[in-house]
């Protein structure tokens, strides 16, 4: 049993307690959401980073988490619509960006997992992803030169088990933040770091509500209802009008038909790096996404009430679309994509 000390083993080596991780609080971001039974530590995060990049976690030693989550692309899968597992099997969902997940409380596109701790072990056993089994992976780690000491430093003794793997991976993922885009610098000091005129118009469109034709109010693209706040997601599950006959989505979690077609609203930070788009990667460019919201919304019984332009369109001009696109590009954060703290430790 994983949790009982084995009496045949020599007395366990003990380690000093791990070092608490100092969270850097950035302006306009909420405080981190603490997982009280898995406080972030320097050693725990470092172990998680090693596991994230270690191909030993897959059945044939060829794949790690990073194979489908590439830091240079906000931890998405290299422009692929669907990810390919070690056996060549192809999934049905687009890989997801990884950052600012401390402020997220449900994971995967359909929200079917409630904690990162549960989430992180799933790819290892998924036959169309890394296709291994946990006892086997635990054994590989126990026999490595590296890991017993790293687990000791992170957890106080050298015991290696699936729960500790999950906690370390959770710590690493929770530590990944993206807070240094052009937009952030503008928010902190708009005089020193202004947006261009086009970006500013795009921002205004993004933040302004829809105005029906004939209204005397300025035009708005109404994105902020779901992609609002400094996180660029309000952390909800919504149906953004992709299909007249929507896929299951969040209904898989709640069993409620009113949740059909609802998916996790992704943060739009770094969105210029994460093509293709939507849970099924159906759009290959941001231009296509903007066209979807402008004129392609499909009405269905669960389409979000705030997509008020359904049927009539947002009425964006070519210039409006270019401005919106320019604004979305200000959300890319190269400090995060180049941050050595998130990079492959084996290179």
């Amino acid at each position: 049993m994983a949790c009982k000390p084995d009496s045949n083993n020599p007395p366990a080596k003990t380690y000093p307690p791990p070092t608490p991780y100092q969270w850097v609080q950035k302006p306009f971001f909420p405080p981190p959401v603490i997982r009280s039974d898995n406080a972030l530590t320097v050693e725990g995060i470092e172990l998680g980073r090693h596991l994230f990049y270690d191909t030993q976690l897959s059945g044939d030693g060829t794949q790690s988490c990073a194979s489908c989550h590439n830091q240079a692309l906000a931890f998405t899968d290299n422009g692929r619509r669907f990810s390919t597992g070690i056996t060549g099997a192809i999934g049905t969902k687009n890989s997801m960006a990884l950052f600012n997940l401390t402020w997220s409380s449900r994971f995967f596109w359909d929200g079917r997992v409630a904690t990162l701790r549960q989430q992180v072990l799933l790819p290892i056993e998924d036959p169309i992803e890394m296709h291994d089994n946990l006892p086997n992976v635990v054994n590989k780690l126990k026999n490595s030169a590296l890991y017993p000491d790293m687990f000791g430093k992170a957890f106080g003794d050298e015991e290696i088990n699936a729960e500790r793997m999950a906690k370390a991976l959770e710590q690493f993922i929770l530590s990944i933040t993206s807070t240094d885009s052009k937009f952030d610098r503008y928010r902190i000091n708009p005089v020193l770091n202004p947006l261009t005129a086009s970006e500013q118009r795009g921002f205004d469109l993004f933040m302004r509500e829809f105005s029906p034709a004939g209204s005397n109010r300025p035009k708005g693209a109404d994105c902020f209802h779901c992609h609002g706040t400094h996180l660029f997601t309000v952390n909800n599950f919504t149906n953004n009008g992709l299909d007249a006959n929507p896929a299951t989505g969040f209904q898989i979690v709640t069993g409620n038909p009113l949740d059909r077609g609802k998916f996790k609203t992704p943060s739009l930070r770094n969105v210029a790096l994460t093509a293709p788009y939507m849970h099924d990667g159906r759009f290959s460019t941001l231009e296509e996404v903007i066209d979807h919201y402008n004129s392609g919304l499909q009405a269905s019984p669960t389409i979000d009430i705030n997509l008020k332009s359904t049927g009539v369109g947002l009425g964006l001009t070519a210039q409006d679309k270019a401005d919106l696109l320019a604004f979305l590009h200000t959300l890319s954060d190269t400090v995060y994509t180049n941050n050595p703290a998130y990079a492959n430790p084996f290179r």
Partner: protein, 255 residues
Amino acid sequence: MKKMYALFILLLVVLSACKEKSTPAPDPDPQPVRNGVYLRMEHLFQGSPLSYGSVAWPTINNNIGVNNLTYYLSGFEFQKQDGSWEKVGAYAMFTAHEKSTDTVYLGTLPNGTYQAVRFFLGVDSVANHADPALWPNDHPLGLMRAAPMHWSWNAGYIFMKLEGRYRTANPLLDGFFSFHIGRDDLITSYQLNGLQVEGGANKQYLKMKFDVAPFFNTPHAHVLSDTSFFTHSAFGDPIANILHGNMGNLISIQP
């Protein structure tokens, strides 16, 4: 994947057999352990409990259904029998579509009998324009709870959000409505008299009801149509002004 998931649950069960698992999500509901005043709000439509998803409630010319009712109450003060006011200053967020009856802790009052309460439907202008990221994550004005109730870089918080559907002549073409009332000048003041609240070291429950029906017709009739189904309280938007005129008639004391 499903099979693997089941396997994983099994693993979790095995693991948790020897290690206590904690529940990380903080419960926003106050445990009735502290002394002080609790506000218990019941949500109704013309006196009947609100139900969600169906399009059954009659308004001026339409039947409507409610999908989302969320609002803030703030700035609570209680009046003593000598006429003076005691502040309890709590911010309360009610999400009626999640809990039709909701109890929120307001705070403590000094000894004495209190005969009236006043408060705002909305958020005072100082808090309204403060950075929402500065509140703790479990605070009703903090981004983690208020994200759907905050206009990002616009005018602050949505004071009251009412969203739903309305029936048109052709039921296949049911419309939807989305009313987001906010903005400093659209705050609504309430004063409710005839209370019997005792201050001091005890627990007091103040029972109120929030009835949605007057929002559509008392005193101003608001007819739902293709051109009147939403407002985000932009300056100059007449719909927000009309509905704001009805917002003083929603909340009352429960006998």
